[in-house]
């Protein structure tokens, strides 16, 4: 069961890499075309303190946690 999930994850990853890292949608975006992509709202980081608070709340009231990277500490939250 464990091996199955791991294998599926690996296949999904390979598929994703193939699909995305190749030609993407249309021709590759050139550096001079990245004005929109450079905007802060287009990053995945968002507002770090906002994310920290909401992640803390959700992991205190729900069973799931994490997903977007490593880092951050724990607490005895009830």
């Amino acid at each position: 069961m464990k091996k199955n999930v791991l294998l599926k994850s690996v296949y999904a990853l390979l598929l994703m890499m193939l699909a995305l890292s190749g030609c993407s949608i249309g021709p590759a975006v050139q550096p001079w075309e990245k004005e929109t992509l450079a905007r802060p709202e287009m990053t995945f980081e968002g507002d770090p303190l906002d994310n920290k608070y909401t992640e803390h709340i959700y992991s205190s009231k729900e069973a799931a946690s994490g997903g977007s990277g490593v880092g951050g500490g724990g607490c005895g939250c009830n």
Partner: protein, 390 residues
């Protein structure tokens, strides 16, 4: 606040992993350039939850200050410090709160202090970040160390990140049920960020975590959990910019599964709309659904707290076994609706205000199997923030 421990960094340094909680660039496809400006930010959180019968349950006031500063064009340092105070009452089992806790005779009043520090080195095609964190409250101490490396392709349209972390927690419950208990967790994450078009960027993250030690809730009746917990996550995100109306959508999905038997789905959508005079408004919606833990013991209306159940086991000489009556391990669905308003003032300052309302219901679980004996759970949170670039 503990600063980065040289000894621990030395151990981690060789592995070339890094991740920072507060560092504002580990996810960007072009994170290889050091930031040009630093940021000082303050954020206040007010959280209040409730259930029918008990109007207020847990209330939290949290205050955080953070600083991110570029150094010599190739480095950046980031640190934050948080103080929070928690008041109120927690359920003893399911959604039952002991009467004396509600009356205020012996409420929880806890204070927590936490800090973190991270350092990033920027390289031509990537970056390396190391970080540490520390959190202390009267019954719980948590220490964490993390490292992350990111590498981009030549055209910087694809970025790979790989990170690892180690957390060690010590628990000493105020009711003396847990004395010097420990929990250690190792985690790793792998991510790919890909530019698709001039207006689209996507990300895929895979995470794995393995913990050993004390997972019980010492404040809950007859709570006994496994001494290990493994979890896996798959998360995907998509940001799209609408050029015509200057708006941006953020769509995300996370799948979570762990060795407690819990499987969870999280869907998130937020839409940022730029408005004249440097205003931004962002409505958001989040839907979450989880299955119950294998060892969750549901409500029996005829037997509150399952006292008869435990008495029968005791009389038969049967060990109680792994089980928990923690509502947070039951099957439920939860919906959050939120709105955030931001205003940029005088070029360098940003003020923001965010309201969110959270509703949790056993009947909203996507997979069914919710515990009909549990009361609905609600929470509202408000954040106020102020930041300045320098």
């Amino acid at each position: 606040m503990k600063s980065l421990q040289t000894k621990k960094t030395h151990v981690l340094g060789a592995a070339l992993f890094a991740a920072a909680m507060a560092l504002p660039l580990s996810d960007a496809a072009f994170a290889e350039a050091a930031p040009e400006r630093g940021i000082v930010a303050f954020k206040y959180l007010n959280y209040q939850d409730s259930q029918p019968v008990y109007t207020d349950r847990i209330g939290v006031n949290a205050y955080t200050v953070s600083v991110m500063a570029p150094i010599a064009g190739k480095w950046s340092i980031s640190t934050s410090y948080t103080y929070d105070s928690v008041t109120g009452a927690s359920p003893y089992y399911h959604d039952f709160v002991e009467p004396e806790m509600i009356s205020g005779a012996s409420p929880i009043r806890e204070q927590r202090y936490a800090g973190d520090l991270s350092l990033t080195r920027y390289l031509p095609q990537g970056s390396v970040t190391v970080g540490s964190s520390y959190s202390e409250e009267n019954d719980y101490i948590s220490r964490g160390y993390s490292a992350q490396v990111s590498i981009s392709t030549e055209d910087k349209n694809t970025t790979f990140t790989l990170g690892g972390s180690y957390n060690t927690d010590t628990i000493n419950s105020s009711n003396s049920i847990a004395h010097d208990r420990e929990k250690r967790t190792v985690a790793g994450a792998f991510g790919i960020t890909q530019v698709l078009t001039k207006q689209d960027i996507v990300q895929l993250n895979l995470g794995y975590s393995k913990g050993r030690g004390y997972f019980d809730d010492p404040y809950k009746s007859n709570d006994l959990r496994p001494d290990r917990r493994e979890s896996k996550t798959v998360m995907t995100r998509w940001n799209h910019h609408f050029d015509a109306i200057d708006g941006t959508s953020h769509l995300s999905y996370r799948y979570y599964t762990d060795s407690f038997g819990i499987k969870a789905h999280t869907f998130g959508l937020e839409y940022l709309q730029s408005l004249p005079h440097d205003w931004t408004v962002t409505p958001s919606v989040r839907f979450y659904s989880q299955t119950a833990a294998d060892f969750y013991l549901p409500v029996d209306p005829e037997d509150p707290g399952r006292e008869n159940y435990f008495f029968d086991l005791f009389m038969a000489g049967t060990p109680f076994g792994i089980l928990s009556m923690d509502q947070r391990l039951s099957s439920f669905g939860a919906l959050t609706l939120g709105i955030k308003i931001e205003k940029r003032i005088a070029k360098d300052w940003i003020v923001d205000l965010k309201f969110e309302n959270y509703e949790q219901r056993a009947g909203w679980s996507m997979t069914g199997g919710g515990d009909p004996g549990l009361k609905p759970f609600s929470a509202s949170f408000v954040q106020f923030g102020l930041s300045r670039e320098f």
